[in-house]
Point group: C2
Chain length 326, copies 2
DNA sequence: AGCCATATGTCAACCGGTTGACATACGAAA
DNA sequence: TTTCGTATGTCAACCGGTTGACATATGGCT
């Protein structure tokens, strides 16, 4: 049987209350007693049961994190940062890969509730996932989850502007934007709006293609195919993420396009991974670490103060100039 | 205040015991009562408290997963699969990014114990992380954690053989292997042994370079630099992972090497991501999904039966023929 | 009438740690 | 000598759900 606090007490020759006092640094305890208790804990390999503690304290120090999938390097990096920061602050992360499926998100949300998490960080959108009068501290990253939920995102509008302008300045005449499903209510739509606005400002007609799925899927290849079939004279593409951008480059090169001479491409996200293995790809860098830090910080405030500062945090983006635009 | 089982009982007009019976499908309950109870639960937004349940049942359905970092796409994919499979089986995943730091791993392990996880899947090595008489079901992936711990890995030796032979068959005269720190006791060392054996069989001298860190770091660039400085006539490189392989290609191309004419490169891991964005890279595919499935399956057996089948599971690898060898 | 399966209630112990109330005891300071 | 700060013990309630023991009641079947 696992040793419990009573066993420690017996071995240390003190009462269970005293052991608890030592563990929680409460009341008066002599150094000598502390020593004896720690010694006893080590001797019998005692590990406190956080379930019991959490049950009584009504505080688990658990954070639920819902992302589409850690397979995608953007979410992989984001989760890795979130977890790292949580760990430093004494929080533990319950990971959920929703695959962007609404019913999964709902089930995960309920699971997190059952597990009494202190808060949730959600990076996928599910209309009606939370009632507006929910009680759980929650932060949404790059998605509007509900009107009572603080959103953290990078400056998507500016990112869209910079990306589009980069293509224009590189001399592109026909610039196409390819993006995820537009019905998702996410700040990422701002990239599209910015693209459209910038083009219209110059009297050009925006052309937008939509990929069927946000998840990292080969299905998207069909849209790429369609794009090149319908617009073989395209000379600039602004892709909504780097993986898509790289796929486009691959496909275009297969068709005989020369990058960046015939076609310039800019991506989005600029994860460390992509910047490392495909530094040639021009892209907009999202401040992944900063996003993670802000998310955890704001969430922690909500947890501590029970004060839900409903607002939006917008973080700066950055242009990574590679050779796919020039 | 959060509704508890008593509140449900009151609203449904039954006793708390009856509600518990409904929730756990125990004893005799009429359909009518079930209906009333579920109705009441919905009405007051009742969510069972899994802490209390777990505390009593001595079973949390929590699985701890320790990886170096989900930033690395290999671990990102692995974790995503593990989590998905766990979810289907009713387990929840507590994520830990150890960054390959021994003390972090130790702290994470203790944290998992405190949280009463049912089992652990570890993908990083820490000598002495677990005593040989540990009580917790645990599975190690690609690392020898202790003599009582079941190891899941892919066939690293065969992978090393195939990779080396691929370079030989492509006509390479001087093949160099670049790998992680050799002092880590991992089955991945088999790749190196295979490389050395294959070369020696043909009367050639193996040359091995070691990267300082397993983590995904720019430090490795120094080793690459050193390799090309000391062996400018290298015409075949077998890298221990794809990211490293891609970095090498980048660096070599910077030096003026033409791939695959002057230099052929083969990587290792073959994640979906890399195969998608860099399909030209020849690599050895590790069966990530299969590894995840096996790990969870064996772990579950240990949890259910409390029978620790100490052995090793070796899974098949596969060659991905790209254009970086030819 | 007796028996049994079904259906539900009451009650208390239990999981393991936390906490407040209260008692006790010692040594030092007032 | 009294008082107070320090140190520790005893005890019981509590967190929220689970479970076994036992009582009770109804309706159908022999």
């Amino acid at each position: 049987m696992k040793p419990k606090i009573q066993d420690v007490a017996r071995v240390a020759g003190v009462s269970a209350t005293t052991v608890s006092r030592v563990l929680n640094d409460r009341g008066y305890i002599s150094e000598e007693t502390k020593r004896k208790v720690y010694q006893a804990m080590k001797e019998i390999n005692y590990v406190p049961n956080d379930l019991a503690r959490s049950l009584y304290k009504n505080r688990t120090h658990l954070i639920g994190v819902i992302v589409p999938s850690t397979s995608n390097p953007f979410y992989g990096e984001l989760v890795s940062h979130i977890e790292g920061i949580c760990n430093r602050k004494g929080y533990k992360v319950l990971l959920c890969n929703s695959l962007n499926e609404a019913d999964k998100e709902k089930k995960y949300w309920e699971m997190l509730l059952r597990n009494q998490v202190d808060g949730v960080i959600v990076v996928t959108y599910n209309r009606g996932l939370v009632n507006d009068n929910h009680l759980l501290p929650a932060i949404a990253i790059d998605h509007y989850l509900g009107k009572n939920i603080h959103v953290i995102s990078s400056n998507n509008y500016q990112g869209g502007e910079i990306a589009t302008n980069e293509l224009i300045q590189s001399g592109c005449k026909k610039i196409i934007h390819i993006n995820g499903p537009s019905q998702l209510k996410t700040p990422a739509n701002d990239r599209r709006y910015a693209y459209e606005a910038v083009l219209r400002e110059r009297g050009r007609d925006p052309i937008v293609y939509e990929t069927p799925s946000v998840a990292f899927l080969e299905e998207n290849i069909n849209v790429i195919e369609q794009l090149f079939r319908e617009h073989p004279d395209v000379d600039g593409i602004f892709a909504s993420d780097d993986l898509l951008a790289l796929k486009i480059i691959q496909y275009a090169e297969g068709l005989g396009y020369h990058i960046p001479n015939d076609l310039k491409v800019i991506g989005y996200d600029g994860t460390e991974l992509i910047r490392s293995i495909s530094p040639q790809l021009t892209t907009i860098i999202q401040p992944v670490l900063l996003i993670a830090e802000s998310a955890v910080k704001v969430l922690e405030q909500q947890i501590e103060n029970k004060e839900f500062s409903i607002s939006e945090t917008v973080l700066p983006i950055e242009l990574w100039k590679g050779s796919t635009t020039q």
